[in-house]
């Protein structure tokens, strides 16, 4: 029987196995490790802070209920993120935003209110992913976050959103194009591993 003091050094799969046997403290360790990732994903998908935290809690509670389904094929974090992403989609759909997903003509880029000089300044300040995502239209942000943050395939995202696959692909492509422009740095690399990107997220 694993002691509580050994939980922090255990692998996620071992913790999940203990949790499947009813060890809530083992699952608590998983929440400590991956809570921020799930909360961050939900905020990146567009949820308000309080809603994101509520949904993240629901996602972890659902994960505990379904913990025996986690086989360790992928990472625990990816697994629980998928649960959270689906929960957010359900929440989003209940909020009657579905019509927003309808195909719309390619909009012009949002006007730059501060000109090229301001743009260069923003780049110099290293606009991070969170800020870049906020510049996307809501459906684009949702689709990109679902596929890249939530780990859903385009088809899975389309199914979750109950929208045509082509529409999802279109939103993802548009979103990626905008993000690429937004995240481009003058040197063209912007930090090879996303390192150095400032994170200013507060609870």
């Amino acid at each position: 029987m694993a002691l509580k003091s050994t939980l922090p050094v255990m692998h996620d799969v071992e913790l999940a196995t203990l949790a499947a046997g009813g060890r809530r403290d083992a699952f608590g360790e998983l929440v400590r490790r991956h809570g921020s990732a799930v909360r961050g994903l939900l905020r990146r998908m567009g949820a308000e802070a309080a809603t994101a935290d509520d949904l993240a809690q629901d996602a972890f509670l659902a994960a505990f209920e379904q913990i025996t389904d986690f086989r360790g094929d992928g990472t625990f974090q990816a697994w629980v993120k998928r649960i959270a992403a689906r929960l957010y989609v359900r929440h989003w759909r209940k909020a009657a935003h579905v019509d927003l997903l309808a195909e719309t003509p390619e909009p012009e880029d949002a006007p730059r209110h501060d000109g090229e000089e301001g743009h260069a300044h923003r780049v110099a300040l290293r606009i991070d992913l969170d800020e870049a995502l906020r510049s996307l239209a809501e459906p684009e942000r949702l689709c990109v976050s679902l596929c890249y943050g939530g780990g859903l395939s385009h088809a899975e995202a389309a199914e979750a959103l109950n929208t045509p696959l082509g529409t999802v692909k279109s939103h993802v492509k548009r979103g990626l194009d905008k993000l690429r422009r937004r995240l481009a740095s003058p040197e063209g690399d912007g930090g090879p591993n996303g390192q150095g990107w400032e994170r200013r997220v507060h609870g």
Partner: protein, 123 residues
């Protein structure tokens, strides 16, 4: 394109730092504990109710009196000739006294006490 997508994957994989990460984990743990306790209470309560109904059924059916009357008429285990156990098997396996019933009830009581102590521990 693929390079940018890989970079995006990495950026998404990098979790933001939350100042209240510990509070969040504590809230989830509390909800887990609360759900668990509620579930056990419900299961325990249902089991207890079921047990009481079962005991009530046994008592109301007059089985105790029936067993007592059987015990009076049956030979004691000590008087059974074991060399003829084939012929007396049914008698040998039947309760010799009503004590067996009370023993069973005591076992139920102990089980309920154990369940209660676990519930109190959870609370």
């Amino acid at each position: 394109m693929a390079e940018f997508e890989s970079r995006l994957d990495r950026m998404f994989a990098e979790p933001p730092a939350f100042e209240d990460a510990g509070v969040f984990a504590g809230q989830v743990q509390s909800k887990l504990n609360r759900n668990w306790t509620t579930r056990r209470l419900v299961i325990g309560a249902l089991g207890g109710i079921g047990g009481l109904i079962g005991v009530g059924q046994i008592v109301s059916s007059g089985v105790i009196g029936h067993v007592q009357s059987l015990a009076k008429g049956a030979p004691s285990l000590a008087s059974i000739d074991l060399s003829h156990w084939h012929g007396h098997l049914n008698v040998g396996l039947s309760p010799a006294t009503s004590g067996a019933v009370w023993l069973g009830l005591a076992a139920v009581g102990i089980a309920l006490a154990l369940a209660l102590s676990r519930l109190i521990e959870d609370l």
